[in-house]
C-alpha cells in the first residue's frame, strides 16, 4: 500500500527567482507568498475578532440590567455599529480570506495564486481599510454610530459627524480589496488546477471559495457605488440622499442590500465548505452526495443576488415586490436543506471519531439549522413586519453567523492549523473551548428570540424595568462571559500549541485532499512536484485504492517563484492617500485634501508603471 512517505523521496525542485526573498520583518512587508499573506489575514482576523467581542461585551454589560447608564446614546450606538462592522468586515471576512489564501492553492495543487502581487495588494488595502475605520476613535474620540447598515440619511452630514467619514473611507478600501481578491481567486481556482483536477474533483471548500469569490467580485460594486455617492454627499455636497431635493433613502438600501445579502453568503459558504471537508475525514467515508453539495452551494450563490428585498419588507416596496422577494427567499431553503441532509447522510451509521474539529463541525449543523429556520420565518412579509428590528432578528443572524460561520471557522482552525504551524492543538483545551462556547453561545442568543417576541427593539441602549425584558437580558449577558472565556481558552491554546504542541506531521488526520501530501508547514513552493489528480479524494485514493497512486516523477522540476515586491504596498498606499484626501477635503485636521488626492492619483500611475516593468 502506498503512503505519503513516498512523496518524501521526490527530488527538490530547482528554483528560479528574480530576487531572493527578504528576511525578518521586511519579508512580511514585501511577501507575495500566498501562505504568508494567508497568515497575515488570519492573524488580523483573530485580532479583530477579539476587539469586536470586547465591544459586544461592553454593550451587553450596559444592557444587563434595566435603566443603566454606562454607555448611552451615541457611545452605545458606536459600540453596536463597530461590533457589527468589525465582526463582518474585519474578523470573519479576513479569516475566510486567510483560509482561502493559505489553502486554496494547496488544495488545487498550485504553487501560488494567479497574481501574487495583486494578492499582496488586496492584503495591504484591507490593512489600510481596517485601520481607517477604527482611526475615528483616535481622531474624533468617537466611533461611527449609524449602524453597520449605515442607512441614509442617518449617515449624511445633517445627522452624523466626522466618524462616518472614516466609516465610508475604510469600507471603500475594503471593497476595493475584496473585488481585486475576488477576481484573483476566480482565475486561480479556474486556471491553476493541477493536471487531472476537473471541476468536479475540486475539493468542496475550494468550490465554496470559488462561489464566494464570484459573490465578492459581483456584489461589492453596488455598495462601492453607494459609498461613493455617500462620500460625494458628505464631501462635495451632492444631493443623492437629500430627501428635500427629491432624493430617496431607498437608493442606499437597495445598493447596500444588493451587496449585503450576497455578503452573508460570503460569510457562511466557506464554513459550509470546511464542514464538508471535515465530516468525511472523521467519518472515514466520502462526502454523501458530493456533487449535490457543490451544486447547492453554487445555487445558493446565484439565488443570493435575488433576495435583497427581504431586508426591506418594511420599507414599503409594494405587494408585488414583497411577494417576489418572499418567494426567492423561500427558495434558499432548498439548497440549504440539501446540504444539511447530505452532511447527516455522511455521518449516518458511520464509525466517527470526535476530535475538537469534528465537534465544532457537528454542532455547526443544528446551530446553523436553527438560524436558518428563523430566517425562513422572515421570508414571510407579514411575519417580518412584526419581527423587523427586534431582538428576534438579532437572534436569527447570530445563530447563522456565530453558530454557523464562526463555529465553522473554529472547526477550520482546529483542523487546518496543524498544517500551518506543524503543531497539533491541545485536545483537552479544545474540548473545554467547544463545550463552553456552545453553551455560552446558546445562553446568549436563545433568550433573544423571546426578547424579540416580547417586543424589544434592536439598537436601544436601555429599557425600563417594567417592560418585562429583565431576566432574558441578564441571561444573555451572562452567556457573553462564557463565550469570552471560551475564546480566550482558544487563543491560549493556539499560542501555546506553537511551542508545546505535538508534532503534526504531514497528514495528522489521515485526510483526503492534496494539502496534506506536503510537509507541515509547506515549503515556499508548496509541492516538490506537481501532483496528478485522479479522483475526488486524491490523497485517500493514493493511500488506500490500488491503481490510484499519485505518481512521483524521477526528475526534479524547474520552477519559477515570484519575487518579493514593494509595489503592492505602494499602490495601496497611493489609493489610501486619495481616500485620506477625500476625507479631509473640507480642510479638517488642517490637512489639505485636494493635493493629497492628486498626489495619490500620480502615485498610483507611477507605482503601477513600476509594477508592470518590475521583473518578478
Amino acid at each position: 500500500m502506498a503512503s505519503i512517505a513516498d512523496f518524501a523521496a521526490a527530488q527538490k525542485p530547482i528554483y528560479h527567482q528574480e530576487r531572493p526573498s527578504k528576511t525578518g520583518l521586511l519579508d512580511w512587508l514585501t511577501t507575495v507568498d500566498h501562505k504568508k499573506i494567508g497568515i497575515l489575514y488570519g492573524g488580523a482576523g483573530l485580532f479583530w475578532l477579539l476587539i469586536g467581542g470586547l465591544e459586544a461585551l461592553l454593550f451587553r454589560i450596559q444592557l444587563a440590567r434595566p435603566d443603566q447608564h454606562i454607555f448611552v446614546g451615541d457611545t452605545f450606538n458606536g459600540l453596536v455599529t463597530m461590533h457589527a462592522t468589525t465582526m463582518v468586515f474585519l474578523a470573519v471576512m479576513p479569516m475566510i480570506a486567510g483560509f482561502s489564501n493559505y489553502f486554496v492553492p494547496l488544495m488545487i495543487g498550485a504553487r501560488d495564486v494567479a497574481f501574487p502581487r495583486m494578492n499582496a495588494f488586496s492584503w495591504w488595502t484591507f490593512f489600510a481599510g481596517s485601520l481607517t475605520i477604527n482611526a475615528s476613535l483616535l481622531f474624533c474620540g468617537a466611533f461611527p454610530a449609524a449602524g453597520w447598515t449605515g442607512y441614509a440619511p442617518l449617515t449624511t452630514r445633517d445627522f452624523s459627524g466626522m466618524p462616518i467619514d472614516f466609516w465610508w473611507a475604510g469600507l471603500t478600501l475594503l471593497a476595493v480589496s475584496s473585488m481585486v481578491a475576488g477576481v484573483n481567486f476566480v482565475v486561480t481556482i479556474l486556471n491553476l488546477r493541477a493536471p487531472g483536477m476537473t471541476l468536479m474533483r475540486v475539493p468542496v471548500l475550494a468550490w465554496m471559495m470559488l462561489v464566494i469569490q464570484f459573490l465578492l467580485a459581483f456584489s461589492f460594486p453596488p455598495v462601492a457605488v453607494g459609498l461613493i455617492l455617500l462620500a460625494f454627499d458628505r464631501t462635495f455636497g451632492t444631493v443623492f440622499y437629500a430627501t428635500n431635493m427629491g432624493g430617496d433613502p431607498h437608493l442606499w438600501q437597495h445598493l447596500f442590500w444588493l451587496f449585503g445579502h450576497p455578503e452573508v453568503y460570503v460569510l457562511i459558504l466557506p464554513s459550509m465548505g470546511i464542514v464538508s471537508e471535515i465530516l468525511p475525514v472523521f467519518t472515514r467515508r466520502p462526502l454523501f452526495g458530493h456533487h449535490a453539495v457543490i451544486f447547492s452551494g453554487v445555487f445558493i450563490g446565484f439565488v443570493g443576488f435575488g433576495v435583497w428585498g427581504h431586508h426591506m419588507f418594511t420599507a414599503g416596496m409594494g405587494p408585488i415586490a414583497d411577494a417576489a422577494f418572499a418567494s426567492t427567499t423561500a427558495i434558499v431553503a432548498i439548497p440549504t436543506g440539501v446540504k444539511i441532509f447530505n452532511w447527516i447522510g455522511t455521518m449516518y451509521n458511520s464509525k466517527m471519531t470526535f476530535p475538537t474539529a469534528m465537534l465544532f463541525a457537528i454542532s455547526f449543523i443544528p446551530m446553523f439549522t436553527l438560524g436558518g429556520l428563523s430566517g425562513m420565518m422572515h421570508a414571510s412579509p407579514p411575519l417580518d413586519l412584526q419581527q423587523h428590528d427586534t431582538y428576534f432578528v438579532v437572534a436569527h443572524f447570530h445563530y447563522v453567523l456565530v453558530g454557523g460561520a464562526l463555529q465553522g471557522l473554529f472547526a477550520g482552525f482546529y483542523f487546518y492549523l496543524p498544517k500551518i504551524t506543524g503543531k497539533l492543538m491541545n485536545e483537552t483545551l479544545g474540548k473545554i473551548h467547544f463545550w463552553v462556547f456552545l453553551i455560552g453561545f446558546n445562553v446568549t442568543f436563545f433568550p433573544m428570540h423571546m426578547l424579540g417576541n416580547h417586543g424589544m427593539p434592536r439598537r436601544i441602549y436601555t429599557y425600563p424595568a417594567d417592560a418585562g425584558w429583565n431576566t432574558e437580558n441578564l441571561i444573555a449577558t451572562s452567556g457573553v462571559f462564557l463565550m469570552t472565556f471560551a475564546t480566550l481558552v482558544f487563543v491560549y491554546n493556539l499560542l501555546t500549541s506553537l511551542k508545546k504542541g505535538k508534532d503534526a506531521g504531514s497528514d495528522p488526520w489521515d485526510a483526503n485532499t492534496l494539502e496534506w501530501m506536503t510537509t507541515s508547514p509547506p515549503p515556499v513552493h508548496n509541492f516538490d512536484f506537481t501532483p496528478v489528480v485522479l479522483s475526488e479524494r486524491p490523497l485517500w485514493d493514493h493511500k488506500y485504492t490500488p491503481g490510484f497512486e499519485i505518481p512521483v516523477p524521477e526528475k526534479a522540476e524547474e520552477i519559477h517563484m515570484p519575487s518579493p515586491s514593494w509595489k503592492p504596498m505602494w499602490v495601496s498606499g497611493s489609493a489610501g492617500l486619495i481616500i485620506v484626501g477625500l476625507l479631509t477635503f473640507n480642510g479638517v485636521f488642517g490637512i489639505p485634501g485636494w493635493p493629497l488626492c492628486i498626489a495619490g492619483a500620480l502615485g498610483i500611475i507611477f507605482s503601477v508603471y513600476a509594477w508592470v516593468t518590475e521583473p518578478v
Binding site: 504553487r111 476566480v186 486556471n191 451632492t238 521583473p615
Partner: protein
C-alpha cells in the same frame, strides 16, 4: 527546459504574471490575464449597472435645477460618440496587427486609439463646462440638483475609465517601442487592453441611447 524557464523569466520582465511558471501546470491552458479581465469586466457590469441604475432610479425626481431636456443637445455628444466608436475599431485593428506579429502597426493603431479616447475626454470636459456655465446644471453645493449629481457622477466615472484606458494605451505603446512588449505570447496583453477599451465603449453605447437619445423622444 532551462531555456524555456529563461524565456518565462524574460516574459515576466514585462510585468504580466500571466506567463509565469505559476501557470505552467495550468489546467485550462488559458492566459490568466485574459480570464481575469473577463471576470473584472463582469464586476464592472455591476459597477456601471449601479451608476446607470441610480440615474434611472432618480430620473424625474429632481426638485429644482434644469431637467434633462433643458440641457442635452445632440451635436457635441454625437461627435464624441462617433469618436469613441471609431476608437473601438482602431483598437480591434491594433489587436489584430499584434496577432499578425506587426508591433509597429499595432503601436500606430494604439496611438490613434489613445488620441480618439483623449478627444472623447476633451469633449466631455467641454460638455460639462457648457452644462455648468450655460445650462446651470450643478453637481454639488447650494444649487445642486438631483439630475446634476447623478448625471455628472455617471458620465464622470465613464470619463475616468476612458482616461485610465488612455494612460494604459500610452504605457503599452512605450513598452512596444522599448521592445519590452513583443508579439507572440504577449499579444494577449494588447488583446486584454482591447477588451477593457471595448467595454468602455459599450458602456457609452448604453448611456448614449438610454440617457441621451431616448430623452429627445419624450
Amino acid at each position: 527546459m532551462s531555456a524555456h524557464a529563461e524565456n518565462l523569466t524574460h516574459d515576466d520582465a514585462h510585468g504580466h504574471e500571466s506567463h509565469g511558471a505559476l501557470s505552467e501546470n495550468n489546467f485550462l491552458g488559458l492566459p490568466n490575464i485574459k480570464l481575469a479581465m473577463w471576470a473584472f469586466l463582469g464586476s464592472e457590469c455591476m459597477f456601471f449597472g449601479s451608476l446607470i441604475g441610480t440615474y434611472f432610479f432618480y430620473h424625474g425626481n429632481s426638485l429644482g435645477g434644469p431637467l434633462p431636456k433643458d440641457v442635452f443637445s445632440i451635436g457635441i455628444t454625437s461627435i464624441s460618440t462617433f469618436l469613441l466608436l471609431m476608437s473601438s475599431l482602431t483598437m480591434a485593428l491594433a489587436v489584430d496587427a499584434m496577432k499578425q506579429q506587426k508591433p509597429l502597426t499595432a503601436r500606430t493603431f494604439i496611438l490613434i486609439t489613445a488620441a480618439l479616447g483623449a478627444c472623447f475626454v476633451g469633449f466631455q470636459v467641454v460638455e460639462f463646462h457648457e452644462f455648468y456655465t450655460e445650462k446651470h446644471l450643478v453637481f454639488a453645493g447650494a444649487n445642486a440638483s438631483l439630475f446634476g449629481s447623478t448625471f455628472y457622477t455617471m458620465t464622470g466615472f465613464h470619463g475616468t475609465h476612458v482616461t485610465v484606458g488612455v494612460i494604459w494605451l500610452l504605457i503599452m505603446s512605450v513598452l512596444i517601442t522599448k521592445k519590452k512588449l513583443v508579439p507572440g505570447k504577449e499579444a494577449v496583453n494588447v488583446e486584454v487592453m482591447g477588451l477593457y477599451w471595448h467595454f468602455v465603449d459599450i458602456v457609452w453605447i448604453v448611456i448614449f441611447t438610454f440617457v441621451y437619445l431616448l430623452e429627445f423622444l419624450k
